[in-house]
């Protein structure tokens, strides 16, 4: 469903009508539960921006550095620190939100040579972690622990994505976060987030 370009009044009218219909009928119909994800105006095409050449350049491990970024890796999304939205990554410890195909990821400048890419949705309760959109509680990068801390309940994930601290409110939670391999050339400030 496309929505971001629609009149918000229409949306609320639509939601109200749905609510009315649902409230009248739903006690009898279990299928009244539904989910709709609305499209982003600026959504990138899904994954696989492959040029089909040079397998060597692709599939690096997380934090891969120094690859030949003139070569387009398979399944990678290129980025450059010249991009104003990524210029925060010029400093170690900073982070930025980045569209990797249809997914948002959090890029963290973990060291002079390395950029780490985390899935931006926290596996704990599915809440957004990144400084994406208008998230007012973005995750924080702990440079000493080399770990990212979700600000919603405190889940802490190391640079490999492993959970190193569960939320104090939910000690039974034990899931890793997805980490995307990154190929980054600190000299040019260019790189790729890989699948």
């Amino acid at each position: 469903m496309s929505s971001t370009d629609e009149d918000p009044q229409l949306l609320s009218r639509r939601a109200a009508l749905k609510a009315l219909a649902a409230v009248s009928v739903c006690p009898l119909v279990a299928s009244c539960e539904f989910v709709e994800i609305k499209d982003d105006d600026d959504e990138a095409s899904t994954t696989n921006q492959s040029s089909g050449n040079d397998q060597d350049a692709g599939h690096g491990t997380n934090g891969d550095t120094g690859g030949d970024t003139d070569t387009v890796p398979v399944d990678g999304t290129p980025f450059s620190l010249d991009d104003p939205e990524l210029e925060a990554l010029s400093e170690v410890g900073n982070q930025a939100c980045f569209d990797h195909g249809s997914q948002e990821v959090i890029l963290v400048r973990a060291s002079d040579d390395e950029i780490v890419a985390f899935e931006q949705v926290c596996p704990h309760q599915g809440l957004p972690m990144g400084a994406c959109g208008n998230n007012t509680q973005p995750a924080k990068w702990d440079q000493d622990k080399e770990a990212i801390v979700c600000q919603w309940h405190g889940s802490t994930f190391n640079r490999d994505g492993d959970l190193i601290e569960a939320p104090p409110t939910d000690s039974s939670f034990d899931e890793p976060i997805r980490v995307f391999p990154v190929q980054f050339d600190p000299d040019t400030g260019e790189g790729y987030v890989l699948n």
């Binding site: 929505s3 971001t4 918000p8 949306l11 609320s12 939601a15 109200a16 749905k18 609510a19 009315l20 649902a22 409230v23 739903c26 006690p27 009898l28 119909v29 279990a30 009244c32 539960e33 539904f34 989910v35 709709e36 994800i37 609305k38 899904t46 994954t47 696989n48 195909g101 249809s102 997914q103 949705v121 309760q125 599915g126 809440l127 957004p128 208008n134 998230n135 007012t136 509680q137 600000q151 919603w152 309940h153 104090p168 409110t169 939910d170 000690s171 039974s172």
Partner: protein, 408 residues
């Protein structure tokens, strides 16, 4: 015959209840439909928490089946919740079945975009005993402890700004002078709803929008004065440590002079149109914020209740965040409740939260439509089936939830 009717009513309601939806809600309905202040039924002058003898006694009589019919008459043999002349006890326990979290899209191994709906979970959400000690007629010491039943920890707070232990002393010498509260307690902000998901205290720009969480409390003092039955004034001063956490702005509590203030005025008009036609109104406004203006909540509310029939309420809130107002939220809620009997109440509400961020053109919106029942099958037990549609700029989700609430 009566038991057949009761059985039929329960089966029907359970069927309806099982099909109904998500997170549960509650309203200051009791006060609005009876015209009685919260303190008639609760120790807390702002409602909620430990019930007074009248509140406890009313609860004892509220249920589709009374205790004698269930063979549990031992539970109704007591005439008070006082365990000693000077001590009363009580508690709330709630279990909720709902889909928690937000839906999202991800890309699977085949490169396909898939929608992930949050799992339906059953969570123990509240386990909170209360105690009130009355060393003197004018003094009450009130304490409560919200354990973390879902985490297994004794103290576990799900939202920033929550507290586990709360306690305050109330001095209430006579109706002619103000009542004072001092200690760690919730300031009397706006209307007090017992559903923390209400959008009036929300910031739509947060994926989990609640700003003022359940069991929010600050150390402070508050005076409440009700010089006439139709007028109540509240004023308080607090140390805003938990507000800083709840809002996510440490500056709120950093300064040595950091403080929060509260002011609320409520007018309770009464309209008498003859037998069985008395309506109780509730109009008020409150302001709560920190003295350095990092956060401020202005709220107005208006409601009307008809004894044993129902109530309708509206609340409007304007929240501002940041010392130079980086973010503003304008939130509204309309709530309708209809009482079929004292043990069955239907509720519906529509809510809208809009956040504007400075220098950002588009506002961020969130809406909710909720319909539910409050059903008391037996005294001290409430079932709250609910259907909820939540609509944000990024997704829409409709779900059922049921809450089981045991209270004493």
């Amino acid at each position: 015959m009566r038991s057949m009717r009761v059985l039929f009513a329960i089966s029907t309601l359970l069927l309806v209840g099982l099909a109904w939806l998500p997170e549960a809600t509650s309203l200051p309905r009791m006060s609005a439909t009876s015209g009685a202040p919260c303190t008639t039924c609760h120790f807390n002058s702002d409602g909620g928490g430990l019930r007074s003898e009248i509140g406890w006694g009313t609860a004892q009589l509220t249920g589709a089946i009374d205790h004698e019919q269930t063979g549990l008459s031992v539970l109704s043999d007591r005439s008070t919740n006082r365990v000693l002349d000077w001590m009363a006890v009580g508690g709330d326990a709630r279990i909720q079945m709902a889909r928690l979290g937000i839906p999202r899209e991800t890309v699977d191994d085949d490169g396909e975009t898939v929608t992930i709906t949050p799992d339906r979970e059953i969570i123990p959400m509240q386990l909170q005993p209360y105690i009130a000690i009355m060393p003197h007629d004018d003094l009450t010491l009130h304490g409560s402890y919200a354990a973390g039943p879902s985490s297994g920890e004794w103290c576990s707070t799900v939202y920033a700004g929550q507290t586990c232990a709360q306690g305050h002393l109330t001095w209430d010498p006579s109706p002619r002078v103000p009542t004072f509260r001092a200690g760690l307690f919730r300031p009397s902000i706006g209307m007090r709803h017992d559903d923390h998901t209400m959008l009036t205290h929300a910031d739509a720009s947060r994926p989990r929008p609640t700003v003022i969480p359940p069991n929010y409390a600050e150390v402070g003092v508050e005076a409440s004065y009700q010089p006439r039955h139709w007028l109540r004034l509240d004023a308080g001063a607090f140390q805003p440590d938990r507000l800083a956490d709840a809002v996510g702005n440490p500056e709120i509590s950093e300064a040595t002079t950091a403080a929060a203030y509260l002011a609320r005025a409520s007018y309770f008009p009464r309209f008498d149109f003859g037998p069985d036609k008395t309506f109780y109104g509730w109009v008020g406004a409150s302001v709560y914020g920190d003295v350095d203006n990092h956060f401020r909540a202005d709220q107005t509310f208006v409601g009307m209740g008809w004894l044993d029939r129902g109530s309708v309420m509206f609340e409007l809130a304007h929240l501002s965040f940041g010392s130079d107002t980086e973010r503003r939220a304008l939130n509204a809620a309309g709530i309708l409740s209809v009482e079929f009997t004292d043990w069955l109440v239907a509720e519906g509400r529509l809510e809208q939260a809009t956040t504007r961020i400075r220098d950002v053109d588009d506002s961020i919106q969130r809406r909710a439509a909720v319909a539910g029942l409050q059903f008391y099958p037996v005294p001290y037990l409430k079932l709250r089936p609910e259907y909820r549609i939540t609509d944000t700029d990024d997704w829409t989700m409709a779900q059922y939830a049921v809450q089981l609430h045991l209270f004493y």
